[in-house]
């Protein structure tokens, strides 16, 4: 038996020689269920394939397990009802504005958490794309954002097609009515002026969907998912439209009471740091769905 053997407890031992994994299982071992050595092989061979797919991993069994006894295959339906797949279809929303109104109409809808407010306008603000203005400096050249940042309590501005989403500096205030009226007046003033709402430079430098998809997918794979995996969670990129992305949280994140925090402070920050030109980030997770969602 070669040196540098690493023991695997009752399973036997293994060694790595010439970039090959060699397993030495115990003789005449009877396993109930799957042979653990097969599981170990899968781990090692899987890891090797990911790391260097060009060098195949040779697995030798010095003393092959004799006639491993496997438990019978579990029945397809061992007394439990079949789990049905829950379909999510969008609700049909009626238009919130009268058609062809000559006036600039704006509706404000504060979020349930009170940290942001969505303003919907009956005029397009940015066709097919979105843009996130994190601060006053980023608004330079964009009249709509400049007008909004002139309001004292505005922290960030997100413009997306017919909507503007505002976060406020003072997180202790829950009543949005006073600020919302100021925001409404500012938006109406800029829209009625008839000039371009967003800087030409921003429009000219908008990235392609493919650039956004590649960048966001890379962040999900290298930063976000390794981070949420510790809690059994995962994040999937569902769609890219213009520079707006839609994600879905799954596993331990779906239905979790901290999902909103993870989304806004973790995922948004990671996305915007790595892909600064990403616009709106939509979360289409249904936190009430599933067989065992976690509720606070």
């Amino acid at each position: 038996m070669p040196g540098n053997l690493r023991l695997l407890g009752d399973f036997g031992s293994y060694n790595i020689k010439n970039n090959a994994l060699v397993l030495y299982p115990l003789r005449q071992t009877t396993w109930i269920g799957d042979n653990p050595l097969n599981f170990i092989k899968k781990i090692f061979t899987g890891m090797k394939r990911d790391a260097e797919s060009e060098s195949p991993v040779v697995v030798e069994e010095q003393q092959p397990v004799e006639e491993a006894v496997s438990a019978p295959e579990p029945e397809a339906n061992p007394g439990f009802p079949e789990v049905r797949h829950v379909l999510q279809i969008p609700a049909i929303s009626e238009s919130i504005f009268p058609e062809n109104s000559p006036a600039v109409l704006i509706k404000a809808k504060p979020s349930p958490t009170g940290d942001q407010c969505l303003f919907t306008v009956n005029r397009p603000l940015m066709n097919g794309n979105s843009w996130y203005f994190p601060d006053f400096e980023s608004a330079a050249g964009s009249p709509l954002a400049e007008a909004l940042f002139c309001l004292e309590d505005v922290e960030t501005v997100l413009v997306c097609e017919y909507t503007v989403t505002i976060t406020r500096k003072d997180k202790t205030l829950f009543d949005w009515v006073p600020l919302a009226k100021e925001v409404g007046t500012a938006i109406r003033g800029v829209v009625q002026a008839g000039e371009a709402l967003i800087s030409e430079k921003i429009i000219a430098e908008l990235p392609s969907e493919e650039e956004i998809r590649e960048g966001i997918q890379k962040v999900i794979d290298t930063e976000v998912n390794p981070g949420v995996a510790g809690h059994g969670g995962n994040v999937t990129l569902m769609a890219v439209k213009g520079n707006s992305v839609t994600i879905k949280m799954g596993g331990g994140c779906q239905g979790c009471s901290a999902a909103d925090l993870t989304l806004k402070q973790g995922i948004h920050t990671s996305f915007r740091t790595a892909v600064p030109k990403v616009g709106a980030i939509f979360d289409e997770t249904d936190h009430t769905a599933g067989l065992n969602p976690f509720f606070s």
Partner: protein, 114 residues
């Protein structure tokens, strides 16, 4: 999540209907509707309601055990505690023995003109 007092469902069936009872899943409890009228057969309208008096985690309309059920439109009237009654509409969906469709929506967030 609000406490649902009652909800009333109205389902317009498309070309392919079904003759089985219509079930819903409330918080993973499969139940039949009360005060049923109409049917889920082709082109017909099914109506039913249920007095829940419980907090809504999930609410789905369950597909038939055999065949397919082509739904053209679903309309649900919710009466929740401390909320104004509200109605949610869903569009076309096809259900079968492996599927159910989510019909729960939180009460709409109040919006105001600015």
């Amino acid at each position: 999540m609000p406490k649902v007092n009652t909800f009333k469902v109205k389902v317009q069936t498309g070309e392919q209907g079904m003759s089985e009872p219509v079930y819903f899943n409330f918080n993973n409890h499969k139940m039949e509707f009360k005060n049923v009228s109409g049917s889920a057969e082709s082109g017909k309208i099914f109506e039913g309601d249920f007095e829940v008096n419980s907090f809504a985690h999930s609410l789905t309309l369950v597909g038939p055990e055999s065949g397919k059920w082509e739904i053209e439109r679903i309309s649900i009237e919710y009466d929740c505690e401390n909320e104004k009654p509200y109605t949610i509409q869903f569009g076309a969906v096809t259900l079968d023995k492996a599927t159910e469709v989510n019909i729960w929506q939180d009460p709409p967030i109040p919006a105001f003109d600015v």
